[in-house]
Protein backbone atom coordinates (compact mmCIF):
# COMPACT_ATOMS: atom_id res chain seq x y z
CA UNK A 1 0.00 0.00 0.00
CA UNK A 2 2.81 2.36 0.87
CA UNK A 3 4.58 1.54 -2.35
CA UNK A 4 1.36 2.33 -4.14
CA UNK A 5 0.96 5.76 -2.62
CA UNK A 6 4.63 6.58 -3.07
CA UNK A 7 4.45 5.65 -6.70
CA UNK A 8 1.26 7.60 -7.26
CA UNK A 9 3.02 10.69 -5.98
CA UNK A 10 5.95 9.92 -8.24
CA UNK A 11 3.53 9.44 -11.06
CA UNK A 12 1.85 12.78 -10.51
CA UNK A 13 5.18 14.55 -10.66
CA UNK A 14 6.20 12.64 -13.78
CA UNK A 15 2.78 13.20 -15.26
CA UNK A 16 3.01 16.94 -14.86
CA UNK A 17 6.17 16.87 -16.94
CA UNK A 18 4.37 14.93 -19.65
CA UNK A 19 1.58 17.49 -19.48
CA UNK A 20 4.05 20.32 -20.01
CA UNK A 21 5.57 18.58 -23.01
CA UNK A 22 2.22 17.71 -24.57
CA UNK A 23 1.06 21.29 -24.07
CA UNK A 24 4.12 22.61 -25.88
CA UNK A 25 3.56 20.12 -28.67
CA UNK A 26 -0.12 21.07 -28.95
CA UNK A 27 0.73 24.75 -28.97
CA UNK A 28 3.00 24.27 -31.96
CA UNK A 29 0.37 22.14 -33.65
CA UNK A 30 -2.47 24.59 -33.13
CA UNK A 31 -0.73 27.90 -33.69
CA UNK A 32 2.36 27.23 -35.75
CA UNK A 33 0.48 24.48 -37.55
CA UNK A 34 3.36 22.03 -37.42
CA UNK A 35 3.97 18.63 -35.90
CA UNK A 36 7.18 18.75 -33.89
CA UNK A 37 8.12 15.19 -33.12
CA UNK A 38 11.38 16.10 -31.52
CA UNK A 39 10.33 18.79 -29.09
CA UNK A 40 11.19 16.50 -26.13
CA UNK A 41 14.62 15.94 -27.65
CA UNK A 42 15.18 19.68 -27.75
CA UNK A 43 14.28 19.66 -24.07
CA UNK A 44 16.82 16.93 -23.30
CA UNK A 45 19.42 18.84 -25.29
CA UNK A 46 18.73 21.86 -23.11
CA UNK A 47 19.27 19.66 -20.08
CA UNK A 48 22.74 18.85 -21.41
CA UNK A 49 23.44 22.52 -22.03
CA UNK A 50 22.50 23.50 -18.51
CA UNK A 51 24.62 20.59 -17.21
CA UNK A 52 27.61 21.97 -19.11
CA UNK A 53 26.99 25.44 -17.72
CA UNK A 54 26.60 24.01 -14.22
CA UNK A 55 29.97 22.30 -14.54
CA UNK A 56 31.57 25.42 -15.90
CA UNK A 57 30.20 27.73 -13.24
CA UNK A 58 30.54 25.44 -10.26
CA UNK A 59 26.86 24.57 -9.93
CA UNK A 60 25.41 28.03 -10.23
CA UNK A 61 21.75 27.06 -10.38
CA UNK A 62 20.47 30.32 -11.78
CA UNK A 63 22.90 30.33 -14.69
CA UNK A 64 22.24 26.69 -15.34
CA UNK A 65 18.52 27.33 -15.46
CA UNK A 66 18.90 30.35 -17.72
CA UNK A 67 21.18 28.39 -20.02
CA UNK A 68 18.64 25.62 -20.30
CA UNK A 69 15.76 27.98 -21.02
CA UNK A 70 17.87 30.02 -23.36
CA UNK A 71 18.98 27.06 -25.43
CA UNK A 72 15.45 25.73 -25.67
CA UNK A 73 14.01 29.05 -26.82
CA UNK A 74 16.91 29.61 -29.20
CA UNK A 75 16.60 26.22 -30.88
CA UNK A 76 12.83 26.49 -31.22
CA UNK A 77 12.94 29.97 -32.71
CA UNK A 78 15.95 29.17 -34.92
CA UNK A 79 14.29 26.12 -36.42
CA UNK A 80 11.03 28.00 -36.96
CA UNK A 81 11.98 29.26 -40.44
CA UNK A 82 12.77 25.70 -41.56
CA UNK A 83 9.27 24.63 -40.66
CA UNK A 84 7.68 27.74 -42.11
CA UNK A 85 9.47 27.34 -45.43
CA UNK A 86 8.17 23.83 -45.70
CA UNK A 87 4.57 24.67 -44.90
CA UNK A 88 4.49 27.65 -47.18
CA UNK A 89 5.69 26.04 -50.37
CA UNK A 90 3.18 23.32 -50.99
CA UNK A 91 -0.42 22.55 -50.22
CA UNK A 92 -1.90 19.29 -49.12
CA UNK A 93 0.54 17.06 -47.30
CA UNK A 94 2.27 19.97 -45.60
CA UNK A 95 2.03 18.74 -42.11
CA UNK A 96 3.76 15.49 -43.00
CA UNK A 97 6.71 17.51 -44.18
CA UNK A 98 6.97 19.29 -40.86
CA UNK A 99 6.89 15.88 -39.22
CA UNK A 100 9.82 14.65 -41.26
CA UNK A 101 11.76 17.85 -40.68
CA UNK A 102 11.29 17.47 -36.97
CA UNK A 103 12.42 13.84 -37.21
CA UNK A 104 15.54 15.10 -38.93
CA UNK A 105 16.16 17.55 -36.10
CA UNK A 106 15.66 14.76 -33.59
CA UNK A 107 18.13 12.57 -35.46
CA UNK A 108 20.77 15.27 -35.32
CA UNK A 109 20.24 16.00 -31.64
CA UNK A 110 20.30 12.35 -30.59
CA UNK A 111 23.46 11.64 -32.57
CA UNK A 112 25.15 14.72 -31.14
CA UNK A 113 24.26 13.66 -27.64
CA UNK A 114 25.44 10.09 -28.20
CA UNK A 115 28.82 11.06 -29.56
CA UNK A 116 29.94 14.56 -28.83
CA UNK A 117 28.67 15.27 -25.34
CA UNK A 118 30.34 13.60 -22.42
CA UNK A 119 31.54 10.96 -24.88
CA UNK A 120 28.05 9.61 -25.15
CA UNK A 121 27.72 8.66 -21.52
CA UNK A 122 24.70 9.72 -19.55
CA UNK A 123 25.04 12.83 -17.46
CA UNK A 124 24.18 13.18 -13.83
CA UNK A 125 23.12 16.27 -12.02
CA UNK A 126 24.72 17.04 -8.68
CA UNK A 127 22.87 16.11 -5.49
CA UNK A 128 21.76 19.49 -4.30
CA UNK A 129 20.45 20.42 -7.70
CA UNK A 130 18.57 17.20 -8.10
CA UNK A 131 16.66 17.90 -4.94
CA UNK A 132 16.51 14.30 -3.86
CA UNK A 133 16.37 15.14 -0.22
CA UNK A 134 13.23 13.84 1.35
CA UNK A 135 10.98 16.58 2.51
CA UNK A 136 8.42 14.50 4.27
CA UNK A 137 8.38 10.88 5.20
CA UNK A 138 5.59 8.52 6.17
CA UNK A 139 7.20 5.13 6.45
CA UNK A 140 8.06 4.05 2.92
CA UNK A 141 6.47 7.08 1.41
CA UNK A 142 8.92 9.88 0.99
CA UNK A 143 8.17 13.02 -0.89
CA UNK A 144 11.35 14.59 -2.10
CA UNK A 145 11.99 18.26 -2.71
CA UNK A 146 12.31 17.49 -6.38
CA UNK A 147 8.87 16.00 -6.61
CA UNK A 148 7.30 18.94 -4.84
CA UNK A 149 9.04 21.34 -7.18
CA UNK A 150 8.03 19.32 -10.22
CA UNK A 151 4.41 19.15 -9.19
CA UNK A 152 4.24 22.77 -8.11
CA UNK A 153 6.11 24.18 -11.06
CA UNK A 154 4.23 21.96 -13.44
CA UNK A 155 0.97 23.13 -12.03
CA UNK A 156 1.99 26.78 -12.11
CA UNK A 157 3.32 26.52 -15.65
CA UNK A 158 0.16 24.91 -16.95
CA UNK A 159 -1.96 27.45 -15.10
CA UNK A 160 0.09 30.33 -16.44
CA UNK A 161 -0.15 28.88 -19.91
CA UNK A 162 -3.92 28.66 -19.78
CA UNK A 163 -4.07 32.15 -18.36
CA UNK A 164 -2.03 33.45 -21.25
CA UNK A 165 -4.22 31.61 -23.67
CA UNK A 166 -7.52 32.88 -22.32
CA UNK A 167 -6.75 36.28 -20.86
CA UNK A 168 -4.19 37.94 -23.06
CA UNK A 169 -4.18 39.49 -26.49
CA UNK A 170 -1.51 37.07 -27.67
CA UNK A 171 -3.48 34.11 -26.37
CA UNK A 172 -6.58 35.32 -28.17
CA UNK A 173 -4.63 35.48 -31.39
CA UNK A 174 -3.37 31.94 -30.71
CA UNK A 175 -6.88 30.62 -30.23
CA UNK A 176 -8.14 32.40 -33.33
CA UNK A 177 -5.41 30.85 -35.44
CA UNK A 178 -6.06 27.49 -33.83
CA UNK A 179 -9.70 27.62 -34.82
CA UNK A 180 -9.40 29.05 -38.30
CA UNK A 181 -6.09 30.30 -39.66
CA UNK A 182 -7.58 31.81 -42.80
CA UNK A 183 -10.19 33.71 -40.86
CA UNK A 184 -7.59 34.88 -38.38
CA UNK A 185 -5.58 36.28 -41.26
CA UNK A 186 -8.63 38.20 -42.44
CA UNK A 187 -9.04 39.70 -39.02
CA UNK A 188 -5.64 41.22 -39.45
CA UNK A 189 -3.73 38.87 -37.17
CA UNK A 190 -0.22 38.42 -38.57
CA UNK A 191 -0.39 34.66 -38.70
CA UNK A 192 3.25 34.07 -39.52
CA UNK A 193 4.61 36.37 -36.84
CA UNK A 194 2.25 34.99 -34.27
CA UNK A 195 3.36 31.52 -35.25
CA UNK A 196 6.93 32.46 -34.40
CA UNK A 197 5.78 33.80 -31.06
CA UNK A 198 4.33 30.40 -30.35
CA UNK A 199 7.73 28.84 -31.03
CA UNK A 200 9.22 31.15 -28.43
CA UNK A 201 6.55 30.31 -25.91
CA UNK A 202 7.02 26.61 -26.55
CA UNK A 203 10.76 27.10 -26.10
CA UNK A 204 10.07 28.67 -22.74
CA UNK A 205 7.88 25.74 -21.74
CA UNK A 206 10.65 23.45 -22.89
CA UNK A 207 13.22 25.22 -20.78
CA UNK A 208 11.09 24.91 -17.67
CA UNK A 209 10.48 21.25 -18.44
CA UNK A 210 14.21 20.71 -18.80
CA UNK A 211 14.74 22.11 -15.34
CA UNK A 212 12.04 19.94 -13.86
CA UNK A 213 13.33 16.82 -15.57
CA UNK A 214 16.80 17.52 -14.21
CA UNK A 215 15.42 17.86 -10.73
CA UNK A 216 13.11 14.88 -10.93
CA UNK A 217 15.34 12.37 -12.71
CA UNK A 218 18.72 13.68 -11.68
CA UNK A 219 20.26 12.39 -14.90
CA UNK A 220 19.87 12.35 -18.64
CA UNK A 221 21.06 10.26 -21.55
CA UNK A 222 20.92 10.38 -25.32
CA UNK A 223 18.17 7.82 -25.37
CA UNK A 224 16.07 9.75 -22.88
CA UNK A 225 14.91 12.17 -25.51
CA UNK A 226 13.64 9.41 -27.75
CA UNK A 227 11.75 7.47 -25.12
CA UNK A 228 10.19 10.60 -23.62
CA UNK A 229 9.31 11.86 -27.09
CA UNK A 230 7.58 8.61 -27.89
CA UNK A 231 5.55 8.72 -24.70
CA UNK A 232 4.56 12.35 -25.18
CA UNK A 233 3.48 11.68 -28.74
CA UNK A 234 1.51 8.64 -27.71
CA UNK A 235 -0.20 10.79 -25.07
CA UNK A 236 -1.11 13.35 -27.67
CA UNK A 237 -2.60 10.74 -29.99
CA UNK A 238 -4.59 9.10 -27.25
CA UNK A 239 -5.81 12.42 -25.94
CA UNK A 240 -6.56 13.65 -29.44
CA UNK A 241 -4.18 15.91 -31.31
CA UNK A 242 -4.57 19.51 -30.30
CA UNK A 243 -6.84 18.65 -27.42
CA UNK A 244 -5.31 20.65 -24.58
CA UNK A 245 -7.58 19.44 -21.83
CA UNK A 246 -7.37 15.85 -23.02
CA UNK A 247 -3.60 16.12 -22.95
CA UNK A 248 -3.77 17.26 -19.36
CA UNK A 249 -5.73 14.20 -18.27
CA UNK A 250 -3.88 11.59 -20.29
CA UNK A 251 -0.48 13.06 -19.40
CA UNK A 252 -1.13 12.67 -15.71
CA UNK A 253 -2.58 9.21 -16.23
CA UNK A 254 0.47 8.08 -18.15
CA UNK A 255 2.77 9.41 -15.47
CA UNK A 256 0.92 7.52 -12.79
CA UNK A 257 0.76 4.34 -14.88
CA UNK A 258 4.46 4.49 -15.56
CA UNK A 259 5.35 5.12 -11.94
CA UNK A 260 3.12 2.29 -10.76
CA UNK A 261 4.64 -0.22 -13.17
CA UNK A 262 8.09 0.96 -12.16
CA UNK A 263 7.20 0.24 -8.59
CA UNK A 264 6.36 -3.36 -9.29
CA UNK A 265 8.45 -4.29 -12.31
CA UNK A 266 12.11 -3.82 -13.10
CA UNK A 267 13.39 -0.95 -15.19
CA UNK A 268 13.24 -1.69 -18.88
CA UNK A 269 10.32 -4.10 -18.64
CA UNK A 270 8.20 -1.40 -17.05
CA UNK A 271 8.92 0.78 -20.06
CA UNK A 272 7.88 -2.06 -22.32
CA UNK A 273 4.64 -2.55 -20.43
CA UNK A 274 3.82 1.15 -20.68
CA UNK A 275 4.52 1.17 -24.39
CA UNK A 276 2.59 -2.02 -24.86
CA UNK A 277 -0.47 -0.53 -23.19
CA UNK A 278 -0.19 2.63 -25.26
CA UNK A 279 0.17 0.62 -28.45
CA UNK A 280 -2.98 -1.33 -27.72
CA UNK A 281 -4.94 1.84 -26.99
CA UNK A 282 -3.74 3.41 -30.22
CA UNK A 283 -4.55 0.34 -32.26
CA UNK A 284 -8.05 0.24 -30.87
CA UNK A 285 -8.63 3.91 -31.45
CA UNK A 286 -6.21 5.15 -34.10
CA UNK A 287 -7.85 8.53 -34.25
CA UNK A 288 -7.69 9.26 -30.55
CA UNK A 289 -9.83 8.50 -27.54
CA UNK A 290 -11.16 12.01 -27.08
CA UNK A 291 -10.87 12.98 -30.70
CA UNK A 292 -8.97 15.93 -32.04
CA UNK A 293 -7.75 17.21 -35.38
CA UNK A 294 -6.16 15.01 -38.00
Amino acid sequence: MEVFVAQVINGLALGSIYVLLVTGFNLLLLVALIIHFSFPQVVVFSMYISWIVLKATGNNMLLGFLAGVGSSVLICVATAPLFQRATRKRRGVDINTTMVISLGIGMIITELLSHEFNEGFPIAFPENVAGRKALVQFGLISISEGQVYALAAGGVAVLAFFLILYRTRMGRAFRAIAEDPQNARLTGIPVLKTGILSYALTGLLGGITALLLSILLGSASAGLGESVALKVLAVSIIAGLGNLKGGLIIGILLGVLEALTQGYLSGSWSNAVVFGVMLIVILIKPKGVFGGRL
Binding site: I35, L82, V93, L103, A272, I282, P286
Partner: protein, 286 residues
Protein backbone atom coordinates in the same frame (compact mmCIF):
# COMPACT_ATOMS: atom_id res chain seq x y z
CA UNK B 1 35.97 -8.81 -55.78
CA UNK B 2 37.45 -7.02 -52.81
CA UNK B 3 35.83 -7.56 -49.45
CA UNK B 4 35.06 -3.88 -49.00
CA UNK B 5 33.30 -3.72 -52.34
CA UNK B 6 31.38 -6.90 -51.54
CA UNK B 7 30.06 -5.40 -48.34
CA UNK B 8 29.33 -2.12 -50.07
CA UNK B 9 27.20 -3.82 -52.71
CA UNK B 10 25.39 -6.01 -50.21
CA UNK B 11 24.55 -3.30 -47.73
CA UNK B 12 23.53 -0.93 -50.49
CA UNK B 13 21.07 -3.56 -51.69
CA UNK B 14 19.64 -3.91 -48.21
CA UNK B 15 19.25 -0.16 -47.88
CA UNK B 16 17.54 -0.06 -51.26
CA UNK B 17 15.05 -2.70 -50.14
CA UNK B 18 14.44 -0.97 -46.84
CA UNK B 19 13.96 2.44 -48.44
CA UNK B 20 11.51 0.87 -50.87
CA UNK B 21 9.74 -0.50 -47.83
CA UNK B 22 9.29 3.10 -46.73
CA UNK B 23 8.49 4.31 -50.23
CA UNK B 24 5.44 2.11 -50.68
CA UNK B 25 3.27 3.23 -47.76
CA UNK B 26 4.36 6.80 -48.35
CA UNK B 27 2.51 6.59 -51.66
CA UNK B 28 -0.53 7.19 -49.52
CA UNK B 29 1.22 9.52 -47.16
CA UNK B 30 2.08 7.05 -44.40
CA UNK B 31 5.53 6.73 -42.90
CA UNK B 32 5.56 3.07 -41.94
CA UNK B 33 8.59 2.65 -39.70
CA UNK B 34 7.24 -0.62 -38.44
CA UNK B 35 9.13 -2.33 -41.24
CA UNK B 36 12.31 -1.70 -39.34
CA UNK B 37 10.84 -3.53 -36.41
CA UNK B 38 10.00 -6.33 -38.83
CA UNK B 39 13.58 -6.33 -39.94
CA UNK B 40 14.62 -7.01 -36.36
CA UNK B 41 11.94 -9.62 -35.77
CA UNK B 42 12.63 -11.64 -38.90
CA UNK B 43 16.35 -11.10 -38.70
CA UNK B 44 16.57 -12.55 -35.23
CA UNK B 45 14.06 -15.28 -35.94
CA UNK B 46 15.87 -16.36 -39.06
CA UNK B 47 19.23 -16.22 -37.34
CA UNK B 48 18.03 -18.34 -34.46
CA UNK B 49 16.21 -20.78 -36.71
CA UNK B 50 19.26 -21.31 -38.86
CA UNK B 51 21.72 -21.57 -36.01
CA UNK B 52 19.76 -23.61 -33.47
CA UNK B 53 17.25 -25.48 -35.59
CA UNK B 54 19.36 -25.84 -38.71
CA UNK B 55 16.85 -24.37 -41.09
CA UNK B 56 18.08 -23.99 -44.66
CA UNK B 57 18.38 -20.51 -45.99
CA UNK B 58 15.46 -20.79 -48.41
CA UNK B 59 13.17 -21.72 -45.54
CA UNK B 60 14.43 -18.80 -43.51
CA UNK B 61 13.65 -16.43 -46.36
CA UNK B 62 10.19 -17.86 -46.66
CA UNK B 63 9.65 -17.47 -42.94
CA UNK B 64 10.70 -13.83 -43.24
CA UNK B 65 8.10 -13.22 -45.91
CA UNK B 66 5.48 -14.98 -43.83
CA UNK B 67 6.23 -13.41 -40.48
CA UNK B 68 6.96 -9.93 -41.82
CA UNK B 69 3.82 -10.02 -43.89
CA UNK B 70 1.67 -11.37 -41.10
CA UNK B 71 2.79 -8.88 -38.49
CA UNK B 72 2.37 -5.98 -40.90
CA UNK B 73 -0.97 -7.27 -42.11
CA UNK B 74 -2.47 -7.72 -38.66
CA UNK B 75 -1.35 -4.26 -37.62
CA UNK B 76 -2.65 -2.76 -40.84
CA UNK B 77 -6.12 -3.99 -39.94
CA UNK B 78 -6.08 -1.23 -37.37
CA UNK B 79 -3.99 1.43 -39.05
CA UNK B 80 -4.50 0.80 -42.74
CA UNK B 81 -6.16 4.15 -43.19
CA UNK B 82 -4.90 5.90 -40.09
CA UNK B 83 -3.36 9.36 -40.31
CA UNK B 84 0.38 9.48 -40.85
CA UNK B 85 1.01 10.64 -37.33
CA UNK B 86 -0.56 7.55 -35.85
CA UNK B 87 1.30 5.25 -38.19
CA UNK B 88 4.60 6.83 -37.23
CA UNK B 89 3.93 6.44 -33.52
CA UNK B 90 2.88 2.83 -33.94
CA UNK B 91 6.06 2.17 -35.91
CA UNK B 92 8.30 3.75 -33.31
CA UNK B 93 6.53 1.96 -30.51
CA UNK B 94 7.01 -1.40 -32.19
CA UNK B 95 10.69 -0.66 -32.73
CA UNK B 96 11.08 0.27 -29.10
CA UNK B 97 9.22 -2.79 -27.85
CA UNK B 98 11.14 -5.21 -30.04
CA UNK B 99 14.40 -3.64 -29.00
CA UNK B 100 13.49 -4.00 -25.34
CA UNK B 101 12.47 -7.63 -25.83
CA UNK B 102 15.69 -8.48 -27.66
CA UNK B 103 17.87 -6.71 -25.14
CA UNK B 104 16.36 -8.62 -22.26
CA UNK B 105 16.23 -12.07 -23.85
CA UNK B 106 19.41 -14.02 -23.36
CA UNK B 107 18.33 -16.52 -25.94
CA UNK B 108 18.80 -13.83 -28.54
CA UNK B 109 22.05 -12.63 -27.09
CA UNK B 110 20.68 -9.52 -25.46
CA UNK B 111 22.74 -6.40 -25.76
CA UNK B 112 25.87 -8.44 -26.36
CA UNK B 113 24.56 -9.51 -29.71
CA UNK B 114 23.73 -12.69 -31.51
CA UNK B 115 26.61 -14.49 -33.14
CA UNK B 116 27.37 -17.48 -35.25
CA UNK B 117 24.88 -17.11 -38.00
CA UNK B 118 25.87 -19.59 -40.73
CA UNK B 119 27.27 -18.41 -44.02
CA UNK B 120 25.35 -18.71 -47.24
CA UNK B 121 26.91 -19.28 -50.63
CA UNK B 122 26.04 -16.78 -53.31
CA UNK B 123 24.40 -14.41 -50.87
CA UNK B 124 25.17 -11.41 -53.04
CA UNK B 125 23.44 -12.98 -56.00
CA UNK B 126 20.44 -13.93 -53.90
CA UNK B 127 20.27 -10.44 -52.47
CA UNK B 128 20.27 -8.75 -55.83
CA UNK B 129 17.76 -11.23 -57.20
CA UNK B 130 15.46 -10.15 -54.42
CA UNK B 131 16.16 -6.51 -55.24
CA UNK B 132 15.28 -7.07 -58.88
CA UNK B 133 12.22 -9.07 -57.98
CA UNK B 134 10.97 -6.44 -55.58
CA UNK B 135 11.76 -3.67 -58.00
CA UNK B 136 9.83 -5.43 -60.72
CA UNK B 137 6.78 -5.85 -58.51
CA UNK B 138 6.92 -2.25 -57.35
CA UNK B 139 7.24 -1.06 -60.91
CA UNK B 140 4.18 -3.07 -61.94
CA UNK B 141 2.28 -1.68 -59.00
CA UNK B 142 3.20 1.92 -59.79
CA UNK B 143 1.92 1.56 -63.32
CA UNK B 144 -1.29 -0.19 -62.34
CA UNK B 145 -4.54 1.63 -61.79
CA UNK B 146 -4.13 1.10 -58.07
CA UNK B 147 -0.67 2.63 -58.15
CA UNK B 148 -1.83 5.65 -60.02
CA UNK B 149 -4.67 6.21 -57.63
CA UNK B 150 -2.13 6.01 -54.84
CA UNK B 151 0.07 8.66 -56.40
CA UNK B 152 -2.94 10.92 -56.88
CA UNK B 153 -3.28 10.80 -53.13
CA UNK B 154 -0.63 13.44 -52.68
CA UNK B 155 -2.12 15.85 -55.13
CA UNK B 156 -5.69 15.60 -53.94
CA UNK B 157 -6.67 13.19 -51.22
CA UNK B 158 -10.39 13.42 -51.82
CA UNK B 159 -10.00 13.01 -55.55
CA UNK B 160 -8.08 9.84 -54.97
CA UNK B 161 -10.76 8.53 -52.66
CA UNK B 162 -13.50 9.35 -55.13
CA UNK B 163 -11.79 7.37 -57.86
CA UNK B 164 -13.31 4.36 -56.20
CA UNK B 165 -10.28 3.05 -54.41
CA UNK B 166 -10.75 1.68 -50.93
CA UNK B 167 -8.11 3.64 -49.04
CA UNK B 168 -7.98 1.20 -46.18
CA UNK B 169 -7.40 -1.82 -48.42
CA UNK B 170 -4.75 0.07 -50.36
CA UNK B 171 -3.05 1.09 -47.16
CA UNK B 172 -3.18 -2.48 -45.90
CA UNK B 173 -1.69 -3.80 -49.13
CA UNK B 174 1.15 -1.31 -49.08
CA UNK B 175 1.88 -1.83 -45.41
CA UNK B 176 1.93 -5.60 -45.78
CA UNK B 177 4.26 -5.43 -48.78
CA UNK B 178 6.41 -3.07 -46.78
CA UNK B 179 6.52 -5.47 -43.86
CA UNK B 180 7.59 -8.32 -46.14
CA UNK B 181 10.43 -6.25 -47.53
CA UNK B 182 11.45 -5.36 -44.01
CA UNK B 183 11.53 -8.98 -42.99
CA UNK B 184 13.65 -9.93 -46.00
CA UNK B 185 16.06 -7.13 -45.15
CA UNK B 186 16.48 -8.49 -41.68
CA UNK B 187 17.35 -11.98 -42.86
CA UNK B 188 19.68 -10.76 -45.59
CA UNK B 189 21.46 -8.49 -43.16
CA UNK B 190 21.85 -11.14 -40.51
CA UNK B 191 23.33 -13.68 -42.92
CA UNK B 192 25.59 -11.09 -44.47
CA UNK B 193 27.13 -9.90 -41.22
CA UNK B 194 26.83 -13.27 -39.47
CA UNK B 195 25.83 -11.44 -36.29
CA UNK B 196 23.10 -9.12 -35.06
CA UNK B 197 23.01 -6.30 -32.54
CA UNK B 198 19.83 -4.66 -31.25
CA UNK B 199 21.25 -1.12 -31.56
CA UNK B 200 21.28 -1.49 -35.31
CA UNK B 201 17.53 -1.72 -35.65
CA UNK B 202 16.61 1.59 -34.19
CA UNK B 203 16.17 5.20 -35.00
CA UNK B 204 19.51 5.48 -36.75
CA UNK B 205 18.20 3.04 -39.34
CA UNK B 206 14.94 4.96 -39.54
CA UNK B 207 16.77 8.19 -40.14
CA UNK B 208 19.10 6.73 -42.74
CA UNK B 209 16.33 5.18 -44.81
CA UNK B 210 14.18 8.29 -44.53
CA UNK B 211 17.06 10.38 -45.79
CA UNK B 212 17.60 8.00 -48.68
CA UNK B 213 13.94 8.11 -49.58
CA UNK B 214 13.52 11.86 -49.46
CA UNK B 215 16.87 12.85 -50.92
CA UNK B 216 16.44 10.36 -53.73
CA UNK B 217 12.89 11.45 -54.30
CA UNK B 218 9.78 9.95 -52.78
CA UNK B 219 7.56 10.33 -55.81
CA UNK B 220 9.20 7.55 -57.82
CA UNK B 221 10.84 4.24 -57.04
CA UNK B 222 14.03 5.18 -58.88
CA UNK B 223 15.09 7.86 -56.43
CA UNK B 224 16.21 5.30 -53.91
CA UNK B 225 18.39 3.53 -56.47
CA UNK B 226 20.41 6.71 -56.82
CA UNK B 227 20.50 7.91 -53.24
CA UNK B 228 21.19 4.61 -51.46
CA UNK B 229 24.56 3.84 -53.04
CA UNK B 230 25.62 7.48 -52.86
CA UNK B 231 24.57 8.11 -49.27
CA UNK B 232 25.97 4.79 -48.10
CA UNK B 233 29.06 4.75 -50.25
CA UNK B 234 30.41 8.28 -49.96
CA UNK B 235 30.89 8.25 -46.16
CA UNK B 236 32.92 5.05 -46.56
CA UNK B 237 35.52 6.98 -48.50
CA UNK B 238 36.20 9.25 -45.57
CA UNK B 239 38.37 8.54 -42.52
CA UNK B 240 36.52 7.16 -39.49
CA UNK B 241 36.38 10.42 -37.50
CA UNK B 242 34.31 12.12 -40.16
CA UNK B 243 32.35 8.98 -40.85
CA UNK B 244 30.98 9.03 -37.30
CA UNK B 245 29.17 12.19 -38.26
CA UNK B 246 27.32 10.22 -40.90
CA UNK B 247 23.93 10.30 -39.23
CA UNK B 248 24.22 13.97 -38.42
CA UNK B 249 25.02 14.73 -42.05
CA UNK B 250 22.04 12.63 -43.08
CA UNK B 251 19.85 14.71 -40.78
CA UNK B 252 21.13 17.93 -42.26
CA UNK B 253 20.65 16.63 -45.81
CA UNK B 254 17.14 15.49 -45.00
CA UNK B 255 16.12 18.88 -43.68
CA UNK B 256 17.87 20.66 -46.53
CA UNK B 257 16.09 18.59 -49.17
CA UNK B 258 12.69 19.19 -47.62
CA UNK B 259 13.20 22.91 -47.40
CA UNK B 260 14.88 23.45 -50.75
CA UNK B 261 13.62 20.74 -53.09
CA UNK B 262 11.00 18.57 -51.44
CA UNK B 263 10.54 16.18 -54.36
CA UNK B 264 14.14 15.08 -54.11
CA UNK B 265 16.70 14.43 -56.81
CA UNK B 266 14.72 12.10 -59.04
CA UNK B 267 11.41 13.74 -59.76
CA UNK B 268 8.54 12.36 -61.79
CA UNK B 269 9.17 14.92 -64.48
CA UNK B 270 12.75 13.70 -64.76
CA UNK B 271 11.65 10.11 -65.07
CA UNK B 272 9.03 11.00 -67.66
CA UNK B 273 11.54 12.94 -69.79
CA UNK B 274 14.11 10.18 -69.46
CA UNK B 275 11.61 7.57 -70.56
CA UNK B 276 10.64 9.67 -73.53
CA UNK B 277 14.25 9.97 -74.60
CA UNK B 278 14.97 6.29 -74.12
CA UNK B 279 11.81 4.69 -75.40
CA UNK B 280 10.19 7.30 -77.61
CA UNK B 281 6.63 8.28 -76.78
CA UNK B 282 5.28 6.54 -73.73
CA UNK B 283 1.70 5.35 -73.72
CA UNK B 284 0.86 6.82 -70.37
CA UNK B 285 2.57 8.75 -67.66
CA UNK B 286 3.88 6.63 -64.83
Amino acid sequence: MSLAFYYFLSITAIYILMSWALYLPYRVGQLHFMSIANMAICGYFGAYAAKSWGWPFALVLLAAVGIGGAVAFITSLAIGDAPCFTVVIVGFTYIFLIKTVIENWDLLGGTMGFFGIPRVKGLLLITYSIVFGAGFLIHRFDRSALGRAASAFFVDRDLAKSSGVDIKKLGMLLQTFSGILGGLCGVLYGFLMNNLFPEFFTFGMVGTCMTMLFVGGYTTMWGVLVSAPLLWGIPLLFPPEIASWRIIIYGVLLIAVLVIKPEGIITRKLVYNAKKKLFGRTKRTS
